[in-house]
């Protein structure tokens, strides 16, 4: 093995992306970071967890939210980077990702890690999708909600994730050109997908 490597996973909700990340981590014996990133960022910066969570939940970066969400200063001509702005919180999370990556090989799920680590060598960027039916079923099971609710929730989350990724990474969420591999987990099932990714990862990182 030559040095550290990173696998960054973007995923549709209900596609099993997190599970795939965790299984990959087990196989490779490295750590998989998902929501813990928020906790670490909160601990490192001293800023409460709920502020990061709130920034995550923003569903749009549209004109409307620009008007009423006040993402910038009111004062004429003055540019102020507000400490609790989503941009600043994203920066804090990015610093945490860089710090973790400096220490060890890891897998990052979400948080635009592929963009944050774009200058870091040995990254494999993956996007995981799945068929709509599989996703709703999975979601309904995991969250104990009806399939109808799951479908609704799914559409909302897709929108949020796309808005977050597109704004912060300046790339397009789920578009093939934003990643190295895009894979539909319905095609082979979770475990086979993990194996496939492992195969590619080993080739690329010369493990």
């Amino acid at each position: 093995m030559t040095g550290k490597y990173y696998i960054n996973i973007g995923r549709q909700i209900g596609s099993g992306g997190l599970e795939i990340g965790k299984k990959l981590a087990q196989h490779l014996n490295i750590t998989c970071y998902d929501r813990q990133l928020i906790e670490i960022a909160s601990k490192e910066s001293g800023v409460g967890k709920e502020f990061f969570e709130k920034a995550d939940e923003k569903d749009s970066y549209s004109i409307f939210s620009g008007m009423f969400g006040m993402r910038s200063s009111l004062i004429n001509q003055v540019y102020t980077n507000y400490f609790l702005s989503n941009e600043n919180l994203f920066q804090i999370q990015s610093n945490v990702i860089h710090k973790l990556a400096e220490k060890r090989s890891c897998i990052f799920v979400g948080r635009c890690a592929d963009y944050v680590l774009k200058e870091t060598p040995n990254c494999l960027n993956i996007f995981i999708s799945a068929n709509k039916n599989d996703r709703t079923k999975r979601l309904a099971e995991l969250q104990h909600i009806s399939e109808n609710n799951a479908l609704h929730f799914m559409e909302k989350m897709d929108k949020k994730r796309a808005a977050y990724y597109n704004y912060f990474s300046n790339k397009t969420w789920g578009a093939a050109e934003s990643y190295h591999i895009c894979i539909n987990s319905s095609l082979l099932g979770i475990d086979e997908t993990v194996q496939t990714i492992l195969h590619i990862a080993k080739k690329k990182m010369c493990l």
Partner: protein, 447 residues
């Protein structure tokens, strides 16, 4: 690393020390930019005449609207720029710079064309009379032709700050104030160019600074610099920066509408001199308000960080300190306005009639100044702790929601004095409102 240490200091250092450290640079910058307006008004009032000051006051909303268009692009682009720089994404950062350049070009030229085409009707609508129109026209014509330069200058200055060169941005502001202050008297007294001289001086000062900025951004040693390839507009950059800039833009645009209404009402009830008096009062009031806005900028990171870190006592400590300082500043304005109004007004004009009206107005308008500091700081406080909606609301109460009804009712009863009285009345109501919201917030965090 440096950044992290600064963050920790926000949570541990002495509040007074932090507040002064963060506030002093912004207070200087804010004071400088309002001095710019004040010196222009003084030279025009003293060198050209009382009607010229009225003519100048008629152009305020148009000038502000121009600046508002500048902030529409500049503020959003600066936010995006610092986001990209934080990620060391220099390709996109360069793209943003190039796009800002082009966007300002488009907006700046369109604004000039529209304003120049309809200049006289616009000025009449804004409250100009046969007597003041020539002054307003002469001044605005030059300012509109140079509007593109103003846009570019303001836009690039915002980016200069965002690209980690706040000292250079500050120096640009200070230098343009200085150049303007030197050239204006030469043009007005030496060359007898009248009000046009003031406009020329403004444009020359901004042109000089724009050349300097472009020079900085073309420097080959800079990571962020103007490149031909970056000029092509990118939909996402344009969309994102405009959407971020929309809220400062709409606040500025709303403020313009209010000034138009004030000017129109004053023309109706008090004639040209009343408009000129408002021009003087507005400039003086603005100076004090800008200093408080500078203090706000200093409070922002300290309140924001500590609120995030749930250090409630530090959050309210910095708020208290800022309110204390702001009240001190506004109290100074209050004392000057109440006890030496004639002295202040006579800085701007030798004309006795105008001094009388302006002094009377100052006394009324400044009457609530001791509590206005509290109101402005509180509304910014809400933004600092991430409650943008409340901040917008509080800002609107003072400048629109409470002011507009007063402006529509009072003048029909008390004439010109009614216009003056509307302002402190709105200030008072808005302060009470802000106090109530702050009290509720305080109770909530105490629980």
């Amino acid at each position: 690393m440096e950044k992290k240490e600064a963050t920790i200091a926000l949570g541990t250092d002495n509040i007074w020390k932090l507040l002064l450290q963060y506030a002093i640079p912004s207070v200087i910058a804010m004071t400088a930019s309002s001095l710019y307006n004040i010196t222009d008004s003084i030279f025009i009032g003293q060198g050209v005449g009382a009607l010229a000051i009225s003519g100048l006051a008629i152009t305020f909303p148009l000038m502000n609207l121009g600046a508002a268009f500048g902030s529409l692009v500049g503020v959003g682009a600066a936010t995006l720029m610092s986001l990209r720089l934080g990620q060391k994404d220099y390709t996109t950062a360069n793209r943003i710079l190039g796009n800002v350049f082009i966007l300002n070009l488009i907006l700046g030229i369109s604004y000039s064309i529209i304003v120049l085409t309809f200049l006289d009707p616009i000025l009449y609508f804004f409250g100009a009379s046969e007597a003041t129109l020539p002054y307003a026209h002469d001044y605005m014509e030059i300012i509109s032709i140079g509007n593109l330069i103003t846009h570019m200058y303001l836009g690039l200055n915002a980016l200069l700050r965002a690209t980690g060169k706040p000292q250079k941005a500050m120096l640009t502001t200070l230098l343009s104030v200085a150049i303007n202050a030197i050239l204006t008297p030469i043009f007005i007294y030496g060359l007898n160019w009248g009000i046009k001289g003031a406009a020329f001086a403004t444009m020359l000062a901004q042109t000089a600074m724009l050349i300097w900025q472009i020079n900085i951004f073309c420097n080959k040693n800079n990571i962020i610099r103007l490149k031909k390839s970056a000029f092509r507009l990118k939909r996402r950059i344009v969309f994102d920066s405009l959407s971020i800039g929309l809220s400062p833009f709409s606040m500025n645009a709303t403020a313009c509408v209010i000034i138009i209404i004030i000017n129109q009402t004053l023309t109706r009830h008090g004639g040209d001199l009343a408009v000129g008096a408002y021009g003087i009062i507005n400039r003086v009031a603005f100076l004090f308000v800008m200093i408080v806005l500078g203090l706000n900028q200093g409070m922002q990171p300290i309140a924001g960080y500590n609120y995030g870190a749930r250090q409630t006592s530090r959050v309210y400590a910095v708020l208290r300190h800022t309110i204390l300082l702001a009240t001190g500043v506004m109290l100074l304005g209050f004392i000057m306005g109440e006890f030496t109004p004639r002295a202040i007004a006579s800085i701007f004009t030798p004309e006795k009639n105008l001094i009388d009206i302006a002094a009377g107005g100052l006394k009324i308008v400044f009457i609530c100044f001791p509590i206005v500091g509290f109101q402005i700081v509180t509304s910014n406080f809400f933004q600092s702790i991430g409650k943008a909606g409340k901040a917008i609301y509080l800002s609107l109460t003072r400048q629109v929601l409470f002011l507009l009804p007063c402006l529509l009712i009072f003048p029909s009863i008390w004439g010109v004095n009614g216009v003056w009285a509307s302002i402190p009345a709105a200030d008072l109501l808005a302060s009470i409102n802000a106090g109530y919201l702050l009290y509720r917030e305080y109770k909530k965090t105490k629980k």
